[in-house]
Amino acid sequence: MNLINTNNRGTYTLFKKEILRFWRVAFQTMASPVLTALLYLLIFSHVLEGKVQVYDSVPYTAFLIPGLIMMSLLQNAFANSSSSLIQSKVMGNIVFILLTPLSYLQFYIALLGAAMVRGLFVGLAIYLVALFFVKLPIAHLGWIIIFAILGSALLGTFGIIAGIWADKFDQMAAFQNFVIMPLTFLSGVFYSIHSLPVFWQMVSKFNPFFYMIDGFRYGFFGKGDVSPWISLAVVIAFLFALAWVCLKMLKSGYKLRG
C-alpha cells in the first residue's frame, strides 16, 4: 500500500491547515511565548549576572539565551501538536481527518511538520529579539540548526503521542505540567550541570532534554557539558524511539479508531 505518494496534496492540505490553526491565534501561540522568554531573560540575567559561574568568559546572559530559545522551541512544538489533537478530539472534529484517505504516516508528517514550524518560528523570534539585549557568538551554525530541527521534531512527536493518549484537557495539562515542564526546567536551561552536585549531574544525564539544550548551546559557544556528538546520538535515539511509538499508535488507531 502506498502510504504517501498517492495523495501529496492531502498531506500538504493538513499541514497547511495546522499552520493556519496556530497562525490565526498568533498572539497566543507566537507572541506570548516570546514575551515569556524575554521576561525570564530580563529577570534571571538581572539577578544572576556575575553571580553564577558558567563557562569561562561567557557572560551569564549570553549563556542563558540559547537555553531559553531551545526551551521555548521545545515547549511550543509540543504544544502545537498536542493541543491541535486534544481540541479536535474533544470538539469531535477529528472525524473530518479520520474520514479521509490520509494514511497514518501522512497524518504524522503533517502534524509534525506544523509543530516543527511553530517551534522553530518561536525560537527564531526569541533569538532575533534577544540580539537587542546581548551579542551572541555563533561558533557552529550547523549544530544550532541540527539541534533546533531535531528538538522540534522530538517534541512535536511527543505532542502527538500526548494528544492521542489524553482524553480530556486536564490530562493534557497534567502531562504538560508534570512531564514537559520539569524535564525542560531541569535540563540546564538556566545553569551548567557542572555547577550541580555530582549526584544531580548524574540525574541530569538521564534527561533527554539536557542533550538537546547542551548540543544547541554548543553551536553558539563551541563549549558544552558533553560532546555534541554524544548529544546528537542521544537525541536521534530518542527521536526514533518516540517516532516508533507514535507511528505504532497511529497505525493501530489507538484511541482514534475503535
Binding site: 492540505t13 472525524v95 473530518f96 479521509t100 479508531r257
Partner: protein, 309 residues
C-alpha cells in the same frame, strides 16, 4: 448492476456486547437506500465500519469494490459521510473548511466550481465566509453535509442528517440529495423519520439488535408486512366481540382494525350489521413504514416507541 457497498458477515463486539451479528448487505450503484432501526440497533456502528472509524471484529466491507480495511484509501476516496453529531472546526470559515476537506482527498482549485455548487445547493452561499463557530445549528448541519460532499464522492452516507432540523431545511436538503441521486450518486440514509425513508428510499433495511430483520423495496415491505387499516367511528356502540381480534386501537368510539387482506373488510362490515351497530364514519387507511417497522422491530416497549416519537 455494479455494487456500491457490500457487507459480508460483519460482526462487531464491544467487550461482551455483540453489536453486529453477521450483517450481509449489498447496495447497488445509484440506489437511494434506507437503513432504519431503533437506537442501539447497530446502524451507526455499521456506518462507522464502512467509514473506517471502527474496525469490524470479523467480516469484510467494501465501497465501490474497495475493501475498507485492506484498500482503505480507495474506499474512503469513494465515500462521503455526514456524521450524526454536529461537529465543526472553530478556526475556519465555511469555504475554507470545504477547501480543506477537498484537499485531504487530493482535490485542489479545480474543485472550486463544485464547492460553489454545493454552497448554492445547500443555501450556504451567503455564509461562505462566516466562521463555523458563528453559524446557527441549522447552518452548521448544512456545512457538515457540504463537507461530506466536498470531494464529490460517488457514495454518500447520511447518518440521521435531519435530526433536529426544521422543515424548510429538510425539504431543501432532500431536494439537493435527490438531485445528486439522479446524477448517479448512491445514497445511504439512516433516519428516525420513517416517512422520510418511505418517500425517498427505493429500498430499505430494518435493523434490530445488530441484525437485519427486513430488506426489500419500500413497496414490497409495505405490501408484505403491513395490511391496510380500517378506521371506524361508531359513536356510543361498542365493537362486536367477533371483531376484537382485529382491533389495533379503540378510544372514544373510534376504532382501528388491522386488515390482513381486503376481504376482511366485508367480514367486518357484516359483523357490524349483524350487531346492529351503526357506522358514523369509516376510512380505509394505507399502511406506512411505521406499521412495517412496528411489526418487525417489535412492540413499543423494546425501543420502537422511542424511534417513532
Amino acid at each position: 448492476m455494479k455494487t456500491a457497498i457490500q457487507f459480508n458477515q460483519i460482526h462487531k463486539h464491544f467487550g461482551s456486547l455483540h453489536a453486529l451479528k453477521g450483517i450481509d448487505l449489498t447496495i447497488p450503484q445509484g440506489e437511494f437506500f434506507g437503513l432504519l432501526g431503533p437506537n442501539g440497533a447497530g446502524k451507526s456502528t455499521l456506518i462507522n465500519i464502512l467509514a473506517g472509524l471502527l474496525k469490524p471484529t470479523s467480516g469484510t466491507a467494501s465501497v465501490m469494490g474497495h475493501d475498507v480495511v485492506v484498500d482503505y484509501q480507495a474506499a474512503r476516496m469513494a465515500l462521503g459521510v455526514v456524521p450524526q453529531e454536529l461537529v465543526f472546526d472553530p478556526f475556519f470559515n465555511v469555504r475554507e473548511m470545504l477547501r480543506f476537506q477537498a484537499g485531504y482527498f487530493g482535490r485542489g482549485q479545480e474543485n472550486d466550481a463544485w464547492v460553489d455548487e454545493i454552497l448554492e445547493g445547500l443555501g450556504l452561499t451567503d455564509k461562505a465566509h462566516t466562521n463555523m463557530r458563528k453559524l446557527s445549528g441549522g447552518m452548521k448541519r448544512r456545512a457538515l453535509i457540504a463537507q461530506a460532499l466536498a470531494h464529490k464522492p460517488p457514495v454518500i452516507v447520511l447518518d440521521e442528517p435531519t435530526a433536529g432540523v426544521d422543515v424548510e431545511l429538510r425539504q431543501m436538503l432532500w431536494e439537493f440529495i435527490k438531485k445528486l441521486n439522479r446524477e448517479g450518486h448512491t445514497i445511504i440514509l439512516t433516519t428516525h423519520y420513517l416517512e422520510e425513508a418511505e418517500t425517498l428510499c427505493s429500498r430499505v433495511a430494518m435493523m434490530k439488535q445488530g441484525q437485519v430483520v427486513a430488506l426489500d423495496s419500500t413497496a414490497n415491505l409495505l405490501n408484505k408486512f403491513a395490511g391496510k387499516n380500517l378506521r371506524l367511528v361508531l359513536g356510543n356502540s361498542p365493537l362486536p366481540a367477533s371483531l376484537l381480534p382485529m382491533q389495533k386501537s379503540g378510544e372514544n368510539g373510534v376504532y382501528m382494525l388491522a386488515l390482513d387482506e381486503l376481504s376482511q373488510m366485508e367480514f367486518a362490515l357484516g359483523e357490524l350489521r349483524k350487531s346492529n351497530v351503526s357506522i358514523e364514519d369509516m376510512q380505509l387507511i394505507e399502511p406506512d413504514l411505521e406499521d412495517v417497522f412496528l411489526s418487525l422491530v417489535g412492540s413499543a416497549s423494546d425501543g420502537a416507541k422511542e424511534v417513532c416519537a
